[in-house]
């Protein structure tokens, strides 16, 4: 049902691939999110279980009664990326629903401008909209506000009692099969999604009122907090916050979340689709400098996927290697031509011998074979790339000053951008790596071995062996070191024995000599070897992707499109259009040098330019005359031909139109301070 811009027969297939890929990615991200939140949710769940155990036991002890004035509260610190919270809360309520209680109310500040609305919302959600809106309304009109609140609170407790009674009278096991414990009265959980934006009055009232009823109604509050836990105390006075029994929960920071997502989505051979360096950079910049929202990052990623599959006809091959083979075989002639047009493929052809070149350029079947092989190569390259990248990251991430970046995504970007081993940063990080101490080096090597073992690529058997060899050598060194120590100790003993000056001098010189001649201990030699080996790995496997043939098929690289759609600059667009209309209207008459504007520009541009000259108030008459001067200058010759009155009218009308357009655009507004004046709303260039 979606028409693509080109009418190739693959469009449908491409769309399907795109959809399935996106669905995969989406489920993966959700999985990641779930895993990350698991810890947090487990803590919360156990807290909720604990909170009303007293209520369960129905003890009548005095301490308990004292305590029961307090509402157990969980403060959930979620970080500033408010837009991601929605998802967190949704999964939270799901978890709670399954494990703790069916009674969950979910309140947002924008729904609750007053305590009345809050209570209505609360009851509506708890009773699953048993309360008819109309009946509530009648009630509203009948009773006074104070009265109603109490009434609804008591009705809430009544409702709660009846509900729990009912479930008691029913077979309790039936209702509570999901929860492990046999809960007689599950707590009522009220979630305040964005606590900061609630009006304090409403919050205070609600807390005070509900603390009165806490004995009948096992209430638990959950505050979603974006800033810091201190906000509770600044929002609520002491008398109110003392009614709360707050426990703090900290969610994972969004940065960690992002790096997991990148790890799972990009640094894996699982998904055939890849992001180019610039695109990734744009996405990360938007994340770091604009919103810190993982949700937006994923959205940007989605856009990349869609854009790639939309604009690249060959993206039909961007799928799992098994499918890709089949699809290559069924490629049409046009698609083969498309392959031949790819710049990376051209480079590849140029490297071949001439017969092969001709075959590649003429025979479709041969081309398909080669393409299959190349695609396979690309896939293998990705597999290797990821493992080696991780391995390199192990080394670089612990170096002082992090010349190649702390996060693996920075390293990834650097590797994508160009040959990483040609950069200065790489050079300096190798230098630093050559100075690592042994224990660090050994642990790193062990980590590398783990990475390579766990990776799916089968080329790494040798590498693993080699690394293991290094490890055993290190161990040997250790043993040798013990012996050496013995030697040195013995020599020292000798020193102690011989006390005459001559001998002492001689032995000291000898010792010195031996040290100098050695220069590099065995350990140092080995260290160099290890670093060199890593270096060779990097040179082999971390070739930037755009040096690979057919990388266009799987890499999305048009960062400008992405930036235009996600991080647009409407003001700049307006500004360019007004200042430099030639940018949009390719007419020679509009061409001007150095940002100046031709007097033949569209009316609105001229009027805009004129208004830039003015202060806060603009006299319309003067403006009009200036405008007509400019316009007359353009139409000079014709001005006399037509009746001047007519021309005047047209210019007047054009002026009116331009001014009202400026008003619509928000540059000016009518002013009452002086007759026939408008006020300017902007300063400076825009």
């Amino acid at each position: 049902f979606v028409e693509r811009n080109n009418d190739s027969e693959d469009a449908e297939l491409r769309f399907v691939t795109c959809q399935s890929l996106w669905n995969q990615i989406k489920s993966e991200t959700e999985q990641v999110q779930e895993d990350l939140n698991k810890q947090l949710f487990d803590n919360l769940v156990s807290f909720l279980r604990r909170s009303h155990s007293e209520f369960q036991e129905k003890t009548t002890e005095w301490t308990c009664r004292m305590k029961s004035r307090e509402i157990p509260t969980a403060a959930l610190v979620l970080g500033v990326n408010v837009t991601d919270h929605d998802l967190t809360f949704r999964s939270l309520s799901e978890v709670l629903q399954n494990n703790i209680t069916p009674y969950i109310a979910f309140l947002e500040a924008k729904d609750c401008p007053g305590i009345k609305n809050l209570m209505q919302k609360l009851m509506g959600q708890l009773m699953n909209c048993y309360v008819d809106v109309d009946s509530l309304e009648d009630e509203d009109y009948v009773q006074v506000s104070q009265n109603r609140i109490r009434c609804s609170m008591t009705s809430l407790t009544n409702w709660y009692e009846s509900v729990t009674k009912k479930t008691d009278s029913e077979t309790p096991s039936k209702k509570r099969t999901s929860s492990s414990r046999d809960w007689q009265s599950p707590p009522v959980v009220v979630i305040f999604k964005d606590m900061e934006s609630f009006t304090t009055k409403v919050l205070q009232d609600f807390i005070v009122i509900s603390s009165q009823h806490i004995r009948e109604l096992p209430l638990v509050l959950i505050f979603g907090i974006a800033t810091s836990p201190m906000i509770i105390h600044s929002l609520l006075p002491h008398s109110v916050s003392s009614l709360l029994c707050i426990e703090l929960f900290q969610s994972l920071s969004c940065k960690e979340h992002l790096s997991t997502i990148i790890d799972k989505l990009l640094l894996t051979a699982q998904f055939p689709f890849k992001l180019g360096e610039k695109v990734l950079q744009v996405l990360i910049n938007i994340f770091l400098y604009h919103d810190l929202s993982v949700q937006n990052f994923i959205k940007g990623f989605q856009l990349c996927v869609v854009e790639h599959f939309y604009s690249q006809p060959l993206s039909v091959l961007c799928c799992q290697p098994v499918d890709a083979k089949k699809r290559v075989n069924s490629l049409s002639h046009d698609q083969c031509e498309n392959i031949r047009k790819l710049p990376s493929f051209r480079r590849y052809v140029e490297r071949q011998v001439s017969e092969k070149q001709i075959a590649l350029l003429t025979a479709d079947n041969f081309l398909k074979e080669v393409t299959q092989k190349l695609l396979e190569d690309l896939h293998v390259y990705h597999e290797n790339y990821v493992s080696v990248l991780r391995c390199l990251h192990v080394f670089t991430s612990s170096l002082p000053k992090y010349p190649l970046g702390k996060q693996i995504r920075e390293l990834h970007c650097a590797c994508l951008e160009n040959r990483v081993w040609e950069t200065e940063e790489y050079e300096s990080s190798l230098q630093l790596a050559r100075m690592l101490n042994k224990s660090d080096l050994v642990t790193m090597l062990q980590q590398c071995v783990e990475i390579f073992v766990s990776s799916s690529g089968n080329e790494f058997d040798k590498t693993v062996e080699r690394l293991k060899e290094f490890l055993t050598q290190f161990q040997k060194l250790e043993a040798e070191a013990f012996q050496e120590q013995d030697v040195s100790i013995s020599s020292q003993k000798e020193l102690q024995k011989k006390t005459d000056l001559y001998h002492l001098q001689k032995t000291l010189l000898e010792l010195k000599e031996s040290r100098r001649s050695k220069k590099l201990t065995k350990f140092e030699m080995l260290r160099f070897e290890v670093v060199d080996y890593i270096d060779s790995l990097v040179r082999n496997y971390l070739v930037p992707a755009d040096h690979k043939t057919l990388h266009e098929i799987v890499y999305f690289n048009t960062a400008s499109v992405l930036r235009g759609h996600l991080n647009a600059a409407p003001r700049i667009a307006l500004h360019t259009a007004l200042n430099n209309p030639y940018y949009y209207l390719k007419n020679q008459a509009l061409k001007s040098d150095g940002g100046r504007i031709s007097n033949k520009a569209p009316d609105i541009c001229i009027v805009y330019k004129l208004h830039l000259e003015c202060g806060r108030l603009i006299n319309l008459v003067d403006w009009l005359e200036a405008f007509s001067t400019v316009v007359m200058a353009v139409e000079g010759p014709n001005a006399d031909a037509a009746s001047s009155d007519q021309v005047d009218d047209i210019i007047h009308a054009r002026f009116i139109r331009a001014v009202s357009e400026l008003e619509l655009l928000g540059f000016i507004k009518p002013s009452k301070r002086k007759t026939d004046h408008v006020a300017r709303l902007t300063w400076g260039g825009c």
Binding site: A626, A633, G685
Partner: protein
């Protein structure tokens, strides 16, 4: 002192360009001396225009903190004096039409262009000698108040007596302001341009902030007092305006068409992206109405869609929601609040996954829709997976409507669609200052209502109208206070107690003939919400009767 400083900040805007300009200035100065003196003043201002104009063009400067590049007085004068050369030069065009045809490329500065028409043929050769010498002489001459100049200035003829006074003053400020460029010129003509630039840079930092507050501190803004009424030109009403504009050919129609075609190329992509859960917002100069209309007719023909004309002055979120519930969901019934209605819509759309709706909103940033609450509701609406929103924005500050939460609800994809097409529909509702309010409707309703009232009631209304007309020149006229009004009515034997007056006023209010508002002191003020000209017409008509 202040003047000098101000000029310096003008210079800072773009030093290089200014230096270049200065040469032009001096060239012109050289020429001017041989010409009429009033040209001198005019050109002095014109020469400053390029400085201002040249600024802020580079994209990078768009967002930077910009001070007023000129004090408001100076700038306003620039605009004011702009007409002087224009008026005098306009007739000159017949003399050198071929010149006009040739030059526009080279001189994009219109003022400059005009002057060049006049002067370009003369004195080209002698420039250099003047460059060094004139500024001093010129400065001396300009510094001295010159009655000759004032009496000759073009607009004293068209202005009233007191305006003339002010004009004189203004011209003098021009002159004093004008001294500085000349002085700077003498500093900078020889090689040391770099030093000048450096100095200016230093100045820039220190003055930047000061300048800004200086320009904003004085509440008094000097502008000319000319009004449109004195222009001897009838105001156009909406209809004639429309007709005239229809006659006038649209400039660069071909290029605009090409632009539009580029945008139309994106239609199928838009539809795809809408289906994938994004919403699309269009920005850029020019009306995007036609583009969206085209999108609607070419792509959305077979699907359910709703077009919202955001620029319509009485559009509300409620009406949007109503049209969804009533026409799309076929629901009959009312809702207590927009939030309830929204909830209902969300529920319906979630229940029935086959339900799809395209919403096209022209001008999402219009007066009526830009409020926080309406944006929140629209954002929530657009976040529904089966509602596809495509909207356009025009206001420069439109993106400020949305905070992070709303942005994530909207899930925008931004598309730049600069069309350069005129905002015909969008501005037709805007009550532009220049368009004459027809007022015919208001007038007829006035007469009709009043005709049905008693004689006394008419008298009461008349009193109020007269009083309002007497005060029409007072911009801060709050209305007639109830007590005063009562007093006046008593004196005219129109009412005998304030109760009867109140009853009468209630009747007026019901017919929307008057408006009451409370002043700061709690006194009730009465106002007729009709513009003065209509009111005058009405009184004249009454008198005839």
């Amino acid at each position: 002192g202040i003047k000098v400083r101000k000029d310096k900040t003008q210079l800072t805007v773009s030093v290089k360009r200014f230096v270049k300009k200065l040469e032009n200035i001096s060239d012109d100065e050289a020429q001017e001396i041989l010409e009429e003196k009033n040209y001198v003043a005019a050109l002095g201002i014109c020469a400053q225009d390029p400085v201002g104009n040249g600024s802020g063009v580079s994209g990078g400067e768009v967002y930077s903190f910009q001070t007023p590049k000129r004090s408001s007085k100076m700038a306003e004068l620039a605009a004011e004096l702009a007409q002087t050369p224009g008026q005098s030069v306009a007739p000159d065009h017949s003399e050198c039409p071929e010149k006009t045809a040739k030059t526009p490329q080279s001189s994009s500065k219109y003022m400059f262009l005009l002057l060049m028409h006049v002067f370009s043929l003369q004195l080209q050769s002698k420039k250099k000698e003047y460059v060094a010498t004139t500024p001093y002489r010129l400065r001396k001459r300009l510094a001295a108040p010159d009655p000759y100049l004032e009496s000759e200035s073009e607009y004293s003829a068209s202005c009233s007596e007191e305006e003339d006074e002010e004009d004189q003053k203004e011209v003098r400020t021009v002159l004093s302001g004008r001294k500085t460029p000349a002085k700077t010129k003498t500093l900078s003509t020889p090689p040391p341009r770099n030093t000048l630039a450096k100095k200016i840079k230093e100045d820039k930092m220190s003055n930047l902030v000061e300048e800004y507050f200086e320009a904003h501190s004085s509440s008094k803004v000097l502008t000319s007092d000319r009004t449109l009424q004195k222009l001897q030109k009838r105001r156009l009403n909406q209809q004639t305006l429309h007709d005239i504009l229809k006659k006038a050919p649209l400039a660069y129609a071909a290029e605009i068409k090409e632009l539009n075609q580029q945008h139309e190329f994106l239609f199928s992509k838009w539809k795809l992206q809408l289906h994938l859960g994004f919403n699309i917002v269009l920005y850029g100069l020019g009306s995007k109405r036609d583009l969206l209309e085209k999108f609607r007719t070419s792509v959305l023909q077979d699907s359910v869609h709703l077009v919202v004309n955001g620029y319509f002055p009485s559009i509300t979120v409620r009406s949007i929601l109503n049209s969804i519930t009533e026409e799309v969901l076929n629901h009959i019934g009312t809702f207590r609040s927009p939030l309830d209605q929204l909830e209902f819509i969300i529920k319906r759309f979630k229940e029935d996954s086959s339900l799809e709706l395209y919403v096209l909103i022209h001008n999402l940033d219009s007066q009526m829709l830009r409020g926080e609450r309406s944006q929140q509701i629209l954002a929530q609406l657009s976040s529904l997976p089966s509602i596809y929103l495509i909207a356009s924005i025009d206001h420069i500050n439109a993106p400020l409507m949305w905070d992070q939460a709303k942005l994530s609800l909207y899930n925008w994809l931004w598309y730049e669609t600069t069309t350069f097409s005129p905002y015909v529909e969008e501005t037709s509702y805007e009550n532009s200052l220049l368009v004459q309010q027809s007022g015919s409707l208001a007038l007829s309703s006035l007469t009709h209502v009043l005709r049905s009232l008693t004689l006394n009631a008419r008298g009461i209304f008349r009193l109020l109208a007269q009083y309002q007309l007497e005060n029409k020149d007072n911009p801060s006229y709050p209305g007639l206070s109830f007590q005063d009004f009562y007093q006046q009515c008593r004196e005219a034997f129109l009412v005998n107690s304030d109760l009867t007056l109140r009853a009468q006023l209630t009747e007026f209010r019901d017919h929307k003939l008057i408006r009451t508002k409370r002043g700061a002191d709690g006194v009730e003020y009465l106002l007729i919400p009709v513009d003065d000209s209509t009111l005058t017409d009405f009184l004249e008509k009454e008198d005839e009767d």
